[in-house]
């Protein structure tokens, strides 16, 4: 049997055009020859596929026709979410942006790490606290001195040498003294020593860590009233370029430090402080900052180690604020600030002569 004849038969068989007699014959043939049944199935599937293809084509045409009736552009404008260009940019490029940001953050961290800005210690700022290391030599000297004093039978101060030292100055004649909080912070006992070398025991009556101010009160029997302080306290801000000076005890003797006011804000733009060009050393902390006329305009409290000569002082109005906020019951003597300035018309040397009795070395002892 030829293939085309077989196909004809298969087609007639499938379409049901075959007469019954021929059909039974063909069925028998199928049973005998499995390839014929396979051919029937194959043909059925292939023609079925053609029909399906046709159906899909028809359906697609129908859908296309429907689609043409839709105003797609209007719909599109209606449905398009219109995100801002930032959002679109982010949507399209967010992986790239993320990578860039990570790299930038990493770079900043690395730079901060290598420049040392990441650590909490600020290398530029050094509190003017004369710690044990720095005063080792002085300690030895002081030790020898106090030994001598003990031998001489006079006990005007503790026998052990001071651990920390700073400067302080009198607020009033009756024994109130101001210094830096960081000088007396954590102290077991605090003594002040005047220019004559006499030490007096003091009590810390108030500390203000925010402005770095501490108020001491001399409570030593040997202390005699100093008399009215010769300076007044300036309430207003001082101007840039103003000639200023300080007195302090960076060493064993009172030291004069002349300078100028260089900025209205302190370390890192701290508005409670002035920046100064003035020679100060560890031990100057807590010293008075005076202007030409002998007004107290601030309290020395730190220096910047990277810029030579830059130092800082707490502004006097913050000192006054601190004094005002002392609770009344922690004062057993009146703390009334002097408003009369007796230094105004004196020369610098005369001013200092008067001042030296009101500036003290602050000696701090702890375990």
């Amino acid at each position: 049997m030829k293939d085309d004849q077989l196909l004809d038969m298969i087609e007639r068989y499938l379409s049901g055009e075959m007469p019954a007699a021929e059909r039974t014959q063909f069925d028998a043939l199928c049973k005998k020859d499995a390839t014929i049944s396979a051919k029937i199935a194959g043909h059925k599937e292939f023609t079925g596929l053609m029909k399906q293809y046709n159906d899909r084509l028809n359906l697609q045409n129908r859908l296309d026709k429907i689609h043409q009736e839709i105003d797609v552009h209007m719909l599109k404008d209606d449905l398009m979410a219109h995100p801002s260009w930032v959002v679109q940019m982010w949507r399209n490029h967010h992986s790239k942006i993320s990578v860039a940001a990570s790299v930038a953050i990493l770079a900043v961290l690395i730079i901060l790490y290598f420049t040392g800005d990441l650590s909490n210690r600020d290398p530029r700022f050094q509190q003017l606290k004369a710690d044990v290391e720095r005063v080792k030599k002085e300690q030895d000297k002081l030790g020898a001195k106090t030994d001598n004093i003990i031998k001489a039978g006079k006990t005007t101060g503790p026998a052990i040498s001071a651990k920390f030292r700073g400067t302080g100055f009198a607020l009033t004649g009756n024994g109130y003294i101001v210094t830096n909080n960081h000088v007396v912070n954590g102290a077991d006992s605090v003594y002040v020593q005047n220019a004559e070398g006499e030490s007096f025991h003091t009590k810390v009556v108030y500390t203000d860590p925010l402005y770095d101010v501490a108020i001491l009160q001399i409570n030593d029997a040997a202390f005699k009233n100093l008399g009215a302080v010769p300076y007044s306290f300036k309430k207003t801000k001082s101007d840039l370029g103003e000639a200023v000076y300080t007195l302090g005890y960076p060493g064993d003797d009172l030291k004069f430090g002349p300078g100028a006011l260089t900025a209205g804000t302190g370390f890192h733009g701290d508005t409670t402080e002035y920046e100064l060009f003035i020679p100060v050393n560890p031990g100057n902390s807590g010293g008075p900052l005076l202007d030409d006329k002998g007004n107290i305009i601030g309290v020395i409290n730190g220096k910047q180690t990277q810029t030579q000569g830059a130092a800082f002082a707490v502004k006097s109005n913050y000192l006054l604020k601190a004094i005002q906020s002392i609770p009344a019951d922690s004062l057993n003597k009146s703390l009334t600030l002097n408003t009369k300035n007796t230094l105004a018309n004196l020369t610098r040397t005369q001013q200092i002569k008067k001042l030296r009795n009101y500036v003290f070395m602050v000696k701090v002892y702890n375990q």
């Binding site: 899909r56 009736e69 209606d78």
Partner: protein, 188 residues
Amino acid sequence: MNNQINVEIPSDSEVIIGILNNSDSVLKKLYLAYFPMVLQLVINNNGDEDEAKDVYQEAIIVLYNKVKRGDFELSSKLKTYIYSVCRRLWLKRLKQLNRYGGDIKDFQEYLVVEDELEKHEERDLQLNKMGDALKLLGEPCKTIMEDFYMHSRSMQDICERFGYTNADNAKTQKYKCLQRLKKLFFQQ
């Protein structure tokens, strides 16, 4: 969903019955009802309106065939079903085009339709092969095949149309054409 075109949303059972009855009007209602939803999905996920049309029509075909086969059960809303199919198709196309950014902005809830689409894609592949084979076949074979097997015209009609002197000649020609078509189809 939009104010410009007031579309009537046909009920799900109306759609099923309409498809089974080859109703043109129901098909049109169905098409108009859900196209905006799919357009919204595609244009807000890196596509344009033509791509939306392709994806939507494919989804309608999937639904249509499923209903015709009789194995469509209304286990979910028709809307959700269409959205899910379109979402799946569009995701696949985005990946093929390398335009997939890692997330897709959704506007509807959706189902997992993975299995059905696999079946559909297999069939789609076969049908495309058939289309390609027919294109390669050339005239007059293509028309004979279409007339006889697709449009179910009788051999008599075909004879007259192509001017064959007798039905046997036409049959022989048809046989040759079919053999060629099979060859083209299976060669691909």
